[in-house]
């Protein structure tokens, strides 16, 4: 299985015109973007089997703070699903509930079911969940700062058992995706924010997961890189067949990439549906996309009025 995958991968890998160190990284990025755009086909309407279902879960921190109050969602195999919502809505908490990392923060799933490929994984160990094929890229680029880029990437492959060779070839693949990382030989802690985000995504790729949970991958990235990251997300999905559950603040990009979207507020899913229909929703336009009508509101002229906040 793994061998097959890597075969697929080596075919799918682009020829390396950008491994030449002479070409500035942004040119490479742009080139990548183009190729990604060329590949991009609109995602099929979600009809596939769900690989992950979250059924009415409730999450409590510190035994008292109820954060999720009945969240349900389902992620179809091979698709990108996005989860939107304001700060503090519980998006990250939902991801952590899925990946098992909740327990490291003294949180617990107290009700509901989480099923991954037919198996219940609620409250399982994070390492077991990773082995099953779910990998979370945590909010805020949590790379291992006192290791080099390469060591970080090798760490991503920790759970893999398919031999040093396959890992090595994946390492090359990741570095081809992010050529800038190749040039950084020092400690990862000294990378800039964007570089660290690339590393975090690259590290997830190293694990060869079936499902990646991405928590705000575009945070702090430059517009170019945001596009790049999203094109990588699409590519991962398309070329490697990886399913993604994507938490984003950049609703426009996220809905553009996803087939399905969920909107969370105050620990509950308040709206869901195909991404395209969400994009047409007036409320979504108003609160997530910036401006309901054809013209984008200017940030400058907002100060005079105070809008209602539905969730307070």
């Amino acid at each position: 299985m793994a061998g097959l995958l890597s075969l697929f991968l080596s075919v799918g890998r682009r020829a390396p015109p950008f491994s030449s160190p002479r070409i500035p990284w942004f040119v490479v990025g742009a080139a990548m973007l183009e190729s990604a755009a060329a590949l991009s086909v609109p995602p099929p309407a979600s009809s596939a089997e769900p690989i992950l279902t979250v059924n009415n879960i409730e999450v409590i921190y510190d035994d008292v703070i109820l954060v999720l109050r009945g969240v349900s969602l389902s992620v179809p195999q091979g698709e990108i699903v996005t989860l939107l919502g304001p700060n503090g809505a519980g998006k990250s908490t939902t991801l952590k509930a899925i990946s098992g990392l909740l327990r490291t923060e003294n949180g617990r799933v107290t009700r509901g079911e989480i099923t991954f490929m037919g198996e219940s994984i609620a409250n399982a160990d994070p390492e077991t969940i990773v082995r099953k094929g779910i990998f979370q890229v945590m909010e805020g680029r949590r790379i291992v700062e006192d290791m080099t880029v390469i060591e970080n990437l090798r760490l991503g492959a920790f759970t893999r058992r398919d031999g040093a060779k396959a890992i090595k070839s994946d390492l090359d693949m990741v570095l081809d995706y992010f050529p800038r990382l190749r040039e950084r030989t020092g400690l990862a802690g000294y990378l800039s924010g964007g570089e660290q985000q690339m590393l975090a995504i690259g590290r997830a790729m190293m694990a060869r997961p079936k499902l990646i949970l991405l928590d705000e991958p575009s945070m702090g990235l430059s517009p170019l890189l945001v596009k790049e990251v999203f094109s990588i997300i699409r590519t991962l999905n398309r070329e490697l067949g990886i399913t993604l559950l994507l938490v984003e603040q950049n609703a426009k990009m996220a809905l553009g990439a996803a087939s399905t979207g969920y909107i969370m507020e105050s620990g509950k899913v308040v709206l869901d549906g195909p991404a395209a229909s969400l994009m047409d929703n007036e409320d979504v336009k108003e609160f997530y996309l910036g401006g309901g009508g054809e013209h984008r509101k200017s940030f400058k002229n907002l100060k005079s009025f105070k809008r209602r906040k539905r969730w307070l």
Binding site: L191, G220, S222, V226, Q249, K252, G290, F299, K303
Partner: protein, 266 residues
């Protein structure tokens, strides 16, 4: 003092980390009362520039003048007194303190009480002084609409609120120049709008000079007066937002746009 007198003068600043050249010979001037934006790809050296201005790093070359005074070698903790305040790219709140105390820390250099008078509280005038500043802090709290969380522990807040508290703390410093490092990262549309409103008010009503690093081009375009572009530690361009947006190099290298001219809000 005239409106357009310069408040910050950065001259030929270079910064080197071992082999990495984070900044090379960057020169720019920020005028008093301006809302100045810095953009550039990741790793371009924007944060490093901020760090030089706020004193975290000392430039390997070049000088920095603030209000005509050479501050290149001034220790970071003394820069609050001359009037420089900042927020951080990655949250840097005092996680175990309440929001209120976090903001009160911003008053540190304005308060006179010390461990002796503080311990004697009622006797040495510390109480009156603390309460006086508390009043000012409440004003900031009202301004940023974080009254509801003033007693909450900062570390337990959601990301967006934490960013707001951080801004409040920087305002509490009463700086003349405030440096904002990606104030809107990780925020949704609505929160960005709030934040933009605060920054504009800060600049226009509170009269603070603002230097802002931001990746959201929509925000940068709308609220900044001038924009500087860094790449590879070098200054690529500087000018009015529209000029910058039409700079082909910026379009390609930073925005990653094709030539179809559509303005993308990323």
């Amino acid at each position: 003092m005239s409106e357009h007198e310069s408040i910050l003068d950065v001259r030929d600043v270079s910064l080197q980390f071992g082999g990495v050249r984070a900044l090379s010979k960057v020169t720019f001037t920020v005028k008093r009362g301006e809302l100045f934006a810095v953009i550039g790809p990741n790793g371009a050296g924007k944060t490093s520039m901020m760090n030089c201005i706020s004193g975290r790093y000392t430039p390997t070359q070049g000088r920095i003048f603030f209000k005509g005074q050479d501050v290149t070698a001034l220790p970071a903790n003394r820069r609050t007194e001359v009037g420089i305040g900042r927020t951080f790219q990655n949250l840097a709140l005092f996680g175990h303190m309440s929001v209120l105390d976090n903001i009160m820390v911003g008053r540190h250099h304005l308060l006179k009480n010390n461990f002796l008078t503080g311990a004697l509280y009622w006797l040495g005038g510390a109480q009156t002084e603390e309460l006086r500043h508390r009043r000012d802090v409440e004003e900031i709290i009202d301004f940023l609409e974080i009254g509801a969380i003033r007693k909450a522990t900062a570390g337990t807040l959601s990301y967006g609120l934490r960013k707001r508290v951080e801004l409040a703390r920087a305002i509490a410093l009463k700086p003349d120049l405030i440096l904002l490092d990606e104030p809107m990262a990780g925020m949704n549309q609505e929160e960005k709008e709030d934040m933009a409103r605060f920054i504009v008010d800060l600049n226009e009503e509170w009269g603070m000079t603002v230097i802002m690093i931001e990746h959201d081009m929509g925000v940068v375009m709308d609220i900044s007066e001038r924009v500087m572009v860094l790449d590879f530690g070098q200054k690529i361009a500087e000018g009015l937002p529209d000029e910058i947006m039409s700079n082909p190099y910026v379009r390609k290298a930073y925005l990653g746009e094709d030539d179809d001219g559509e303005r993308e809000v990323a």
